[in-house]
Symmetry: C2
Subunit: 213 residues, 2 copies
């Protein structure tokens, strides 16, 4: 028992010493709140909007992505719908639908919490556009929270691609998200992505998160 | 700097030693997830359902409360509506509407995060029933998370009424809620109340929370 206690105290001391290496401001990350959205492959754009249709950019996002003018309607397996769901461009190799758990309950589906692109065995969903509809046997997920950053940001934070950190919010409805994945790429701008449930649950608006290793 | 470091390490050691006083199971609290709901005063029941109308109990809740059979429709100041919102009985001295932040965005209103009963200056909202409608100039809040417990529970946890604690979830979407208020009353059953955004944001279902003082 005494050994275990000493081990735990030593860990806390080491963690505290480590955290002193950076000032608080150096550990802050801006937050991007992702509302429900859809990524589409070429084949599905053809079906939903017409052969050869090109998505129209409405607002530029980071890493060459953009919010498109175009929206679709999602229909879950219990035939419940959510209208006016934004498409994010450009087109991808595979279509993917990202919803919050609140959306999922409304739709009557049970999507897993996953990293973008990891859709094997995820929830089925129907996507309806002005020219057609597609039924994804899998492809609907709740996005797993993560932090995008450049290699220079990663060096500043002292973290590496794939590392798991916690992010704390010191606001009035505050708290800490654990299991936050670091994603490093030279096209990325520093931003933590959370969904609307996560933002609303901790009352996060324009707050900065504090990264805790 | 060295003094500050020693002070912080001492605090962490003291906190760690203190946390060892209880085993983990003794610090666990079951979770109740509150969906949007309405409490009504006698006058408003008369208007919404007819003079002298009595609410029908559908499901018993703790502390003499119950979910009623009856529902209402909420309409926000931008005329957007949410249908089939459950009434919780029995009647109260003042009507109060509790929604999640996600609901609030859907309704186009901006209710504050408040303790139940503290509705001064909170958001306006319309409540529509089968026999009439009432417009609350204030009364719509997002409920502030809290833990109900009996005096015996409070003694077990080593906390007092009004104390603020944190509650941690060790699930796959885990994290920690800070600023959780303890409420002690002899009619209360041990349960932490969070709303649907909070539950969904941290992936809380039937998990137990771990109280951290």
């Amino acid at each position: 028992m005494q050994d275990e206690l000493i081990r735990r105290i030593s860990m806390l001391v080491a963690k505290e010493l480590n955290s002193q290496e950076k000032t608080e401001s150096e550990n802050k990350v801006p937050i991007g709140i992702s509302a429900r959205h859809v990524h589409l492959c070429r084949e599905h754009i053809d079906i939903l909007f017409g052969k050869g249709y090109q998505l129209t950019e409405k607002k530029e996002l980071m890493g060459g992505q953009y919010a498109a003018q175009e929206c679709v309607t999602l229909v879950g397996t219990k035939l419940r719908a959510i209208e006016s769901v934004r498409i994010l461009g450009p087109e991808r190799k595979a279509s993917q639908v990202e919803v919050s758990k609140t959306d999922a309950i409304r739709l009557g589906i049970n999507p897993p919490v996953r990293e973008s692109g990891n859709t094997a065995g995820s929830a089925p969903i129907a996507i309806v556009g002005p020219k057609g509809a597609v039924y994804l046997d899998e492809g609907c997920i709740v996005a797993k929270r993560h932090i995008h950053m450049s290699p220079a940001d990663a060096e500043n934070f002292g973290v590496t691609d794939g590392q798991i950190v916690s992010v704390k919010f010191d606001n009035s409805r505050g708290g800490t998200f654990e299991g936050v994945q670091i994603r490093v790429d030279k096209t990325f701008t520093l931003e933590m992505h959370i969904d609307t449930d996560e933002a609303n649950g901790l009352g996060v608006g324009k707050d900065m998160g504090i990264v805790i290793k």
